[in-house]
Amino acid sequence: MKQIGKKKISRLDFVILLLTVLLFSIGMLTIYSATYVPESPSWLSPISYRQLIWFTMGLVGMGLSFVIDYRYYLKISYLAYGLAILGLILVLVVGKSAMGAKRWLIIAGFTFQPSELTKLALIFALSRFFAERRLAPPYNLKELIIPFAMVGVPFILLLKQPDLGTAMLVALISCSIIFYAGLTRKTIAALFFAAMALAAAGWQFLHDYQKQRILTFLNPELDPQGSGYHIAQSKIAIGSGGLAGKGFLKGTQNLLHFLPEQHTDFIFSVYAEQWGFWGSSLLIILFMLFLIRSLIISQEAKDPFGSYLAIGIAAIFFWQVCINIGMVLGLMPVVGIPLPLISYGGTSLLTSMTLIGILLNIHFRKQYF
């Protein structure tokens, strides 16, 4: 029994666990410095404190998603998907609006963002669809009508909110799973051109502020005081960190509030200003190791459902990291996507940790029949 217990423990993926702890610690430290007020009586800012509470809740979420055999998720995949779609529709009808967009539902006093659930539900549903498919890959365009429809419905609902960032994210994640499942070369080429055409056509459906953001991104001088200002200040913060950084709690851009959203979307700038190139590279490398490890879990999964699910989770992390860091580095337009495990935010942290629990789950059960 003792032997079996030891064996079981060795099946836990300590690499992912270690990376998770490291990334969260960096996040905590950065949130602490982003919300640091000199001469404040309390040593921990309320925001840092709340993030710690969310972390403990995240641990519970991680534990629960780990304990339940992931194959059980297969059974509830479509149900979850249905619920997510329902949530998105509800949000449009009765949702709470903020800053011109309806994104939140209030259930029993808790504000809740269905778009977070959508990401999860969609990777479940797509994984189940491809896992149960009685057809060998690679697939052609005709064989992909159903999965594209599965993506299309929430995509359009998200655009309606409007939440362009999440809609794009959902599209990218879904496409990653579909691509992973296998496409013919012809299909890849066709999809590529279709995406281009869609982007061009979609331009006119964008809201003015969204167009503005993209234009500003292409030419920051257009709006030095608005969103261009954010990117400019972010670049100044990161660039001024130099090779070695300004040191812990010494980031002037951060302390003097030149950075926008410094503890949420722009937290990477706060970190990079303090720790410089070495510190920032470390963070990026940690993320890359995390992604590679997730990819390995997907490769080693016992069944295709596990593989698809793991790659879906990896895709969620991959695209969020790339878009968020790309944005603060001035490589992408400003979209409100947090940096997983680092940015402040309960929903984001809870979701991320639940996803990591599923990764551990898949890895734990890879040679267990």
């Binding site: 009685r134 890959p137 990161i238 001024s240 509030h257 790339c322």
Partner: protein
């Protein structure tokens, strides 16, 4: 589900795994390259930007130099006051902010502020824009209470210029005015901020550079909304040099009081140094009004006054010298050998030249007149006779010895040169030759001749001291409080190339003017033993000689009355002061100007005796 299907799927998965690994590595590398570019290649650039973001350099205003009189009495210094400025770059909506400010500051001109705000070029937006200086206690309290509603507001303690003697020497000290946009663009004003004050007249203008000092720098850390957090002095301010004038403020005030209801000017000089002891011009103005932003109504009152109170008549008022000019004629004629001291001309009340009659002021004539008496009684015909024998250019030649027809070079701005005519000038400007009759007018200080009261004081200095011209001097010492270096200004003596016996002769004649019966200034003689005054009266025509037919001069409208001159010095034996006085439209020099000179001299000699 067949095992085959699963196998196919898993093959596909492991095949795509490599592509995904590549994608992860590529994306990571891309981010790292971008990071390297921002932090390492452009790191220094962004570091500079982050410094500029939160470090503002504010200036520490240098204290303006103090101006003293010869006895170290303060003529201009600085008092602390509170000023309100706004920092243009921190203001988004000037309309809104100025609407707020109007509520707290009495009589604030909102349009003026908006205009000034909009006129600031972008690259100067970090410099504070002055809204008001010398805030009252109430205004200060209201502003402090609403500090939070007014972003970009800056309340500073700021020195305000103070002139304790105000009107009494306003022309001399001058005033300051706000710098204008054109000046700000010029490189010589590079260290100035919008709404800085610059010397506009008098010593304040002439020594602007020295008085101003060098502003210091303070590095201030600001946050994103521009609130100041910490500051550090990176370069201390260096106060401006202080300037000691040769003026005796006590005498100046006394003379100012004497001239109170008159229009004119009085200049007092030390005949042994050329130092100006007093320089009064009336009417005067309050230069303290200019120390803060002058009110529109005050400005209009001063600038619109037909008597032009801003003009410093001592150096800018150009008058015909009248008979005070005769000493130069006398000295020139003696030196050129045209006359001897004993040469006698006969005065029958006029001299006929061609068809014109040139009249003496005494229509009954003076009879036989020698040089000494010609001065004592100011006989015009005597000088007409001299003029008949002297070419105009010869007269101009001698005038130059006495500093006429050119600026004296006194350290005050906007000095006028006066005018001495010459034949070449006449030819050039009137395309006509010089007529003898014009020389006759010139010989009694009429016609084209123009002098300033300062010049006239300087003309009499050689007669007081026996033959040496001194350049009029207003500044005695300039001392730099930073280096402690003191620069004494040297007197500049120019001995005149005329026999000293002639100076002595004319000097004695000038004594008779005041101290003998029938002398034109006999009424103003000083009876204190040892303080006897010598001098010369003068009456400068404003309009052409009206002739006997017209009513008596007292009935003439004020503006047509003659200007009254008197230049005198005392004590006769060893003069310590020369004073020239002109009273515009005062009438006769002996009655209008001489008493002022007399009183001023007595006052001065008394004060010398006491000290």
């Amino acid at each position: 589900m067949s095992v085959l299907d699963i196998k196919a799927k898993q093959e596909q998965i492991s095949k795509n795994g490599k592509i995904f690994l590549l994608a992860i590595v590529l994306a990571g590398s891309l981010l790292l390259i971008r990071l390297w570019y921002l932090q390492v290649i452009k790191g220094e650039y962004f570091n500079q930007l982050s410094q500029n973001n939160h470090i503002r350099v504010r200036r520490i205003r240098a204290l303006r130099g103090i101006i003293y009189d010869r006895h170290h009495k303060i003529l201009a210094d600085n008092h602390p006051g509170f000023s309100l400025s706004v920092i243009p770059e921190n203001i988004n909506d000037i309309e809104k902010v100025s609407t707020e400010l109007v509520k707290y500051l009495d009589g604030l001109d909102q349009d003026d502020i908006i205009n000034r705000f909009n006129a600031i070029p972008n690259h100067l937006k970090y410099r504070p824009l002055k809204i008001r200086n010398n805030l009252t206690r109430n205004e200060l309290a209201r502003l402090e209470a609403h500090k939070m509603d007014l972003p970009g507001m800056l309340i500073e303690v700021e020195p305000i210029r103070n002139y304790p003697y105000d009107q009494q020497c306003a022309h001399l000290i001058g005033y300051q005015g706000f710098i204008n946009e054109q000046e700000l663009e010029r490189p010589s004003y590079a260290s100035y901020y919008p709404d800085d004050l610059v010397g506009r007249s008098g010593i304040e203008a002439r020594y602007e550079e020295l008085l101003r000092g060098t502003d210091g720098k303070r590095q201030v850390e600001v946050n994103a909304v521009g609130r100041e957090l910490h500051s550090r002095i990176s370069q201390p301010a260096v106060a401006g040099s202080s300037i000691t004038l040769t003026i005796d403020i006590e005498l100046q005030s006394y003379i100012h009081e004497l001239m109170k209801d008159k229009v004119g000017s009085v200049v007092a000089m030390d005949p042994h140094t050329g130092e100006i002891l007093a320089m009064v011009s009336t009417p005067s103005f309050s230069n303290n009004l200019f120390a803060t932003r002058i009110k529109q109504e005050d400005w209009q009152k001063i600038s619109g006054d037909p008597l032009r109170p801003l003009q410093n008549r001592a150096i800018q008022g150009q008058y015909p010298p009248g008979s005070t000019f005769k000493v130069i004629m006398a000295a020139a004629a003696l030196e050129d050998g045209i006359i001897t001291p004993d040469t006698i001309f006969s005065c029958i009340g006029y001299l006929k030249l061609g068809r014109s009659k040139f009249r003496c002021w005494n229509k009954y004539g003076h009879g036989k007149v020698n040089l000494s008496r010609s001065l004592k009684e100011s006989c015009d015909v005597y000088y007409y006779n001299l003029a008949c024998k002297m070419p105009i250019d010869r007269i101009a030649h001698y005038c130059a010895f006495f500093g006429l027809g050119k600026k004296s070079g006194i350290a005050l701005p906007q000095e006028k040169a006066g005018f001495i005519p010459s034949s070449s000038w006449k030819l050039k400007h009137f395309h006509d030759q010089w007529y003898r009759g014009e020389t006759l007018s010139t010989s009694i200080g009429q016609g084209y001749v123009l002098v300033t009261p300062l010049q006239m004081a300087a003309v009499y200095v050689p007669f007081a001291n026996g033959g040496t011209y001194y350049r009029p001097q207003i500044v005695a010492e300039i001392s730099n409080p930073h280096s402690g270096r003191k620069q004494q200004i040297n007197h500049k003596a120019q001995p005149i190339n005329i026999d000293t016996r002639y100076f002595e002769l004319i000097r004695n004649a000038l004594w008779r003017v005041v101290n003998e019966r029938h002398g034109t200034a006999h009424a103003s003689r000083i009876t204190v033993p040892g303080w006897e005054m010598a001098g010369k009266t003068g009456t400068a025509q404003v309009v052409a000689q009206p002739g006997e037919k017209l009513k008596s001069k007292k009935e003439l409208p004020w503006k047509f009355r003659d200007h009254a001159w008197f230049v005198g010095f005392a004590p006769f034996r060893d003069p310590s002061i020369v004073i020239s006085a002109v009273v515009e439209h005062g009438g006769h020099g002996g009655s209008a100007a001489a008493p002022i000179v007399k009183q001023a001299i007595i006052h001065y000699l008394e004060s010398l005796e006491q000290s």
